[in-house]
Symmetry: C2
Subunit: 88 residues, 2 copies
Amino acid sequence: MSIDHEGDRPVYLQIADIIAGRIASGDLQPRRRIPSESDLVQEHGVARDTARRAVAHLREQGLVYTVPQRGTFVSPPADPADEGEQPS
Amino acid sequence: MSIDHEGDRPVYLQIADIIAGRIASGDLQPRRRIPSESDLVQEHGVARDTARRAVAHLREQGLVYTVPQRGTFVSPPADPADEGEQPS
DNA sequence: TTTCATTTGTCCGTATGTATT
DNA sequence: AAATACATACGGACAAATGAA
């Protein structure tokens, strides 16, 4: 799970792939938080911008969703936990 | 409240402004659901693509977050006490 | 259990206006 | 002038997940 800084594939996509793999394997489960940007910076030795790009890519792919000031979480959720019901 | 299809400002930004206003006024509260894309289509008489653009804009601004297959919700205010917590 | 409505995700088109090349 | 690219806007279709009945 190490990063190749020389290869053709952008580093941020390599990191996104790693996280996507952890989601696919069940290591990261629905509605659980994924590693923070700071975590990714430390784990992979990359700049914060690179970590941010990796998360943004996963978000665009629909694999995760971000709650501002709280973190980024695996989607879709397994537990409703009634936070979104609209009593119309 | 109504949409101007002739003006310079894109329709999707006009709709985003309306929703942002409802958030700012407290009409739409943190962690509560905002109108669905279908709701926006009916309320404003636009295509779904336009409604999606409006929501995407708000999401990019950090005002809302989307949980796939569940809906889009108002972002919570910054709260330093929740580090590492799940959004439920 | 099945059925149905809701909601978002994703793709296919078309058309228009603007900007660039 | 012409071709290309992009953004906006509309219309339609289907898939996947959820939730309620």
